[in-house]
Symmetry: C2
Subunit: 124 residues, 2 copies
DNA sequence: ATAAGTGCAAATCGTTTGCGTAGGC
DNA sequence: GCCTACGCAAACGATTTGCACTTAT
């Protein structure tokens, strides 16, 4: 409704697709100085409950957030931290096997897949 | 070589397959009181470098550790935190698609797959 | 007026680090 | 003796919480 919350939404709709809480904090502080970190976390939590955004545990570095849009997952490079969006379909077999063999329902969007991106693979 | 390190190995070979640093710390303290947390972390780090153990980022709760043995990955329940070992083969399609379509080399063992286990799915 | 949103500072959790010491070789 | 492993306490990064204050509605 107010100040910071509106700003967060603006930022989310504006530019980059993925933000850590701190990225967001810095961008907020740039646009309107004096906002506190706790506000950022509280706004993110609220937007999460409202199903407007989702968060992803990256394994390397901190949790990141993005507007909710199903059907994609994330590949995160353990070297450079880059995030690659990939369609959910990449999970098809895994999701299905987990379900049939282990009665486990995979949340494809909730944790990143770790590995090394093209760049970092070559520069090893 | 010495005390704590030896004990950690004993514990790892003994019982459960997965330990958080804190699990390990508690078990150590039970077997031989007076060990410090930093020692636990340092031992884990050392054993990691020696390729004796591996760690997994769980997304829910803290990192866990286990003896190194390739060919399996982990399903972690976001509700109860239970860890299920699954063969690497469950990743086949994902790993391959990531490689061919995105030149991304998945590290199947390095991050857990999140979701809900059979128990928690029914008790929702 | 009432409830929600905010800032600030302190607390928490998991993990790391600096430093002085003790023990294996 | 020397080098590594250890214990302790303090430092850290990410995130959460308590509390008092402001501001939409």
């Amino acid at each position: 409704m107010t100040g910071p919350t509106r700003l967060v939404l603006e930022i989310l709709f504006d530019g980059e697709r993925h933000f850590s809480a701190d990225d967001l904090f810095e961008e907020l502080d740039r646009r309107s100085p004096g906002i506190s970190q706790s506000t950022v976390y509280r706004v993110l939590q609220r937007l999460g409950q409202l199903q407007i955004i989702e968060h992803v545990h990256s394994g390397v570095g901190s949790t990141f957030y993005h507007l909710r849009q199903h059907n994609h997952a994330h590949l995160v490079c353990t070297d450079c931290g880059s995030i690659t969006d990939v369609p959910d379909t990449i999970f098809e077999q895994l999701t299905q096997t987990a379900q049939t063999d282990y009665s486990f329902t995979v949340q494809t969007h909730h944790a990143a897949i770790l590995g090394r991106c093209a760049n970092c693979a070559t520069s090893s």
